[in-house]
Amino acid sequence: MSDGAIARKGVPVQLDKVSFTYGEAPLSFDVAFAAAEITAIMGPSGSGKSTLLNLVAGFETPLSGRVLIGGADVGASPPASRPVSMVFQENNLFAHLSVEQNVGLGRSPSLRLTEADHADIAEALARTGLAGKQKRLPRELSGGERQRVALARVLVRDRPVLLLDEPFASLGPALRNDMLDLVADLHAERGMTVLFVTHQPQDARRIGQNVVFLDNGAVAAAGAADDFFAGAGPEAFRRYIGASGGDAVSRDIARKPT
């Protein structure tokens, strides 16, 4: 497990008494995420995990409260100008653009790229194990490779906060572990703050330093991952992960689209 000591570039993320609703159940978040650490966000379906990420990314606007990134209130900024990159469960790539172009969009949204940009893109692709696949279209890639392209774009974009919304949920266990290790490695190099939504306790144990547990649209508990999995988590968390604790091989690997 890496702790990102090499380049501490990450900034803290805080949701300060943020409230939000999709029209039915109200959600309210009051939580801080430590800078340059990986926090796993867990909780039952509908508990608001993805919504929390969407609020940080700027896809949703809070009804009240503040979203602070690096201490600055980003409430008024559009998603693109927030210091945040996000990887979704699917649709991370434009199907008609090549791998290289998809990554290049992380540098210039109109794809006007300099020589230096091209060099960075090639390096990011190499770093994510995609060397030689620059010209491929997304449909010519496997599911895991597509998410690697998204991670390569994260590298090229180089923002201090990375949001992962179950990006590996539809991959098999071995591949998922590979991807998690890649994220951990990238985190070790760049030291960004990572917020990581997952349903899998073993994923959280594998790379998570902290756990935030959501229930019913609010933060039910937060703390160090080791404490959570040592049985110090709240009752609701223990019920959520089941009797066998974090070692359970989950039966639902393919997740609903969120």
């Binding site: 609703t21 999709y22 029209g23 990314a57 700027g58 896809f59 949703e60 606007t61 559009p78 998603p79 693109a80 100008s81 945040v84 990159s85 996000m86 979704f88 649709n91 991370n92 790539l93 434009f94 199907a95 008609h96 653009l97 969009l105 992380g106 949204p109 109109s110 794809l111 997304p138 449909r139 597509r146 974009r157």
Partner: protein
């Protein structure tokens, strides 16, 4: 995503303003004229007018019954046999009337059943005395059924294909015969689709202009739309035109209101999904009956098309092609239809983008008025038939100088707006699906404005835009609504020239022109269909 200054919304507002100007100007013309000559407008509500209203409703009712009831059974027959030789061809053929210019069909029907038609001898022999042709109510009905039977059949078939194949598996496991299967499985689905389909056909028939103009053949068989045209072009009776127009608007408004209450889909689709796998065993007698039904419908629909081709080939095509008037009209038609299609696609895209952007901006809460307008804006167009818009502007501008000078502008604008429901049908689902995939990604990466259009929207919308364009162009090319009002010797389109040749009994010329027009429209619609079907593979 609360960005207020989304350029997509601005585009939508501009498009809506343009449409509002077009419709508003027409209403202004009507109101000014009515206010100007109030007593005249009142006096126009005379027995003649009542007779026109009655005939409009009567022919529409008969046309609807004659189209929809047979269509129920033809659709069922087609759905019972999901795989047979020529099925795809028949469905394709049934799509042709959707884009075939009404005047071409009218000529085809005359070439077949007219006084000098191919069937005249046979029909005369059956009737005892000389065949007098099918002008009047019978002609109108045949033409309306020619257009609407295939349309209704396709819509019913679409409905039948929504029946889950599990139900059919269950039915065959339970040993359901044809009759119980119809009663328990097919009829409930058809009954649900029936009001919408019947309403759509009724709507198309009360606003039908060209058919009634060319096949009505006299004051005994005149509808409101043709009445408006005659009042403006021949009698020069503006007050009468106002009265007729107001009645037409009232009538269509009621029908559209009823239609939306019924949840009808007021725009026919150009292509059809592939038949799902079915588990039906059909016995010999039923197969025979179904085959008979399908063949009859096929003959009825294919007949006028074949007659158009035969009569057209009989014309002196070489001479026609050399004629300066014909060339001029072809050129005018091509240019106007091209511009009209371009405008139609741009307006539709603007409304689609604005609607989507507004829907994304809104989180909970009800939809704003603007969002409603971008959503149903194009629907208003169906309430106001082209002749009505043309009439309004005609009345407004006749004080301002030469009405005929603005003919090109009117033709382009009105036809563009008329094609919008179809264009939207092609563009909106594709745009919304692409937006569903790309919206967050674009917001995240800051791809917006022109970069977004170039990198994201254009690649995923190229095909649907081309489909919409081809379809809009075909509709505009064949239209004889606005041009009938505004056309003159200096500005003639092909349909206008065709009408003129028919009027001066140069039937051969008319047949030749009809063939040309029909083929071009057919080519465009086939292109639209092909473009719409060949979807890019998605990730």
């Amino acid at each position: 995503m609360q960005r207020a200054s989304d350029p997509r919304i601005t585009a939508g507002v501009v498009a809506l303003a343009g449409i509002a100007l077009l419709i508003g100007g027409a209403f202004a013309g009507l109101l000014l004229e009515g206010a100007h000559d109030l007593s005249g407008a009142w006096a126009a509500f005379d027995p003649y007018l009542l007779r026109v209203v009655r005939f409009t409703l009567w022919q529409a009712t008969l046309s609807t019954l004659l189209s929809v009831i047979p269509a129920l059974f033809v659709a069922r027959a087609l759905s019972r046999h999901p795989r047979f030789f020529a099925r795809a061809f028949i469905l394709q053929l049934f799509a042709v009337p959707l884009a075939l210019p009404a005047i071409v069909a009218a000529l085809g029907i005359l070439a077949l059943y007219g006084r000098a038609g191919y069937f005249a001898g046979m029909l005369g022999a059956v009737g005892g005395q000389g065949w007098r042709g099918i002008y009047g109510l019978s002609g109108i009905l045949v033409a309306h059924v020619f257009f609407n039977l295939p349309l209704a059949t396709r819509l019913f078939l679409e409905a039948l294909q929504t029946i889950p194949s599990d139900q059919w598996r269950l039915a065959s496991q339970l040993g359901m015969g044809a009759r119980p299967a119809f009663r328990l499985i097919e009829w409930p689905t058809l009954r649900a689709a029936l009001p919408g389909v019947a309403g759509l056909v009724f709507m198309l028939c009360i606003t039908s202009f060209t058919i009634v103009l060319t096949l009505g053949g006299g004051p005994a068989a005149t509808t409101l739309e043709v009445g408006i045209y005659q009042a403006l072009r021949f009698d020069f009776d503006p007050a009468g035109a106002v009265a007729l127009t107001l009645l037409q608007i009232g009538l269509t408004f009621i029908v559209v209101l009823a239609l939306t209450r019924l949840g009808a889909n007021v725009v026919g689709d150009a292509n059809l999904p592939v038949a799902p796998r079915r588990y039906v065993s059909v016995n010999g007698t039923e197969t025979l009956l179904n085959a008979l039904l399908i063949v009859l419908a096929l003959l009825f629909v294919a007949g006028p098309m074949a007659a158009t081709v035969m009569a057209g080939l009989g014309a002196d095509l070489g001479r026609l092609a050399g004629e300066a008037t014909v060339r001029q009209a072809t050129e005018t038609s091509a240019v106007l239809a091209f511009l009209s299609a371009l405008l139609s696609v741009m307006l539709s895209l603007a409304l689609t983008m604005a609607r989507r952007a507004l829907a994304l901006n809104r989180r909970a809460g009800p939809r704003t008025l603007l969002e409603h307008a971008t959503d149903t804006g194009a629907g208003f167009v169906l309430v106001v038939p082209p002749i009505v818009i043309g009439a309004g502007w005609f009345l407004l501008l006749r004080h301002a100088g030469d009405v005929f000078a603005i003919a090109p502008l009117m033709v382009v604008a009105v036809n563009a707006v008329m094609a919008m429901p179809f264009a939207l049908r092609a563009i909106r689902p594709a745009y919304d699906a692409a937006s569903e995939r790309h919206e967050r990604l674009c917001a995240q990466l800051g791809i917006s404005g022109l970069a977004r259009l170039r990198l994201v929207d254009w690649p995923s919308l190229r095909r649907p835009l081309a489909t919409a364009f081809a379809f809009a162009m075909a509709l505009s090319l064949g239209d004889l609504g606005v041009i009938a009002l505004f056309g003159s010797d200096s500005v003639q389109t092909l349909p206008y020239l065709l009408l003129a040749r028919m009027g001066s009994y140069r039937t051969q010329d008319a047949a030749g022109l009809a063939l040309l027009l029909g083929l071009v429209c057919l080519a465009l619609v086939l292109a639209a269909d092909w473009l719409g079907r060949e979807k890019g593979r998605d990730v």
